[in-house]
Symmetry: C2
Subunit: 158 residues, 2 copies
Amino acid sequence: MALLTASSAIILNKSRKFTSMETISIDNILKRNQLSVTDSRKKILELFQGNAGALAHSDIEKRTGEKFDRVTIYRTLQTFVEKGIIHTIPTADNSVLYALCKDECTTGHHHDNHVHFVCDNCNVTYCLDSVVTPEVNLPQGFKPQVIDVVVSGICKNC
Amino acid sequence: MALLTASSAIILNKSRKFTSMETISIDNILKRNQLSVTDSRKKILELFQGNAGALAHSDIEKRTGEKFDRVTIYRTLQTFVEKGIIHTIPTADNSVLYALCKDECTTGHHHDNHVHFVCDNCNVTYCLDSVVTPEVNLPQGFKPQVIDVVVSGICKNC
DNA sequence: ATTAATTCTGCAACTTTGTTGCAAACCTTT
DNA sequence: AAAGGTTTGCAACAAAGTTGCAGAATTAAT
């Protein structure tokens, strides 16, 4: 499993164990967004915080050990996207990936102007928060709103 | 239907009727790629040539009037992608879109270094062949291979 | 601390999307 | 026109995603 490999290899978001401080932080994220604090939401948020790479629905299903219903995971991810906690990443192979948003995102208003990188080897998708999307000169009449950039190639861990 | 609107509004690939010359051209595309010339392949190629916007599997199913089996359409699109006749476009909402490739594409070797534009209003996806993908400065250790740029906003016909 | 009100979860059933094997139909070549 | 290979359509299946609803959990109020 590509993403299991990833979790051990990547150290972007510092994959240490959560202290009580951080547990509180997860609770706060949920409360800040008027969401009840439930097991599934806490667990799924933890997964995102503990792993730098993006996650697909199926990854979450596996990593939570089939503890939660498929439907619950779908709905949790939907809710998180709506609230601006996570965002989706466009992929060429038509799989939906999700990753944590940065702080500026709010309900219905995402600011994901960073570049995504998919490794052809280990298959991990990174959010390169430090790389800002470049300008694009469009033909007359086209008004850009959001620019999504997905780079694929070989990542720094491969 | 977003894409029906599109077919009448867009003039990128010149949506005129096909002359016998152009019919021959479709046959040639297939023959050039060692594919037998069949009804479904001709019809699907025609659809792509007649409409500038990108097409999803479901669009093709509707526009061919349920004349061909779902499986045939899947296989035809797969074959066309493999032969370099069409290419897929990454989308944030996880639908697969296909569009005609330019001449330089060959089997297993796509050259789609152009920008894609999705209109938020009419929902049409354009291949902006004239807009070359910009350079992206990646962090140390990341080696880029393919850069996909998808811009969304308002198109020139809206 | 209990209770009432609200929110969330899990189940069941369903829809949509995509895949595979195989026999019949079709296209190409001779 | 017939042999050979290729392509199609059917059936059956697998995977992905959605919806309604009753019961469980969370939150807010007493």
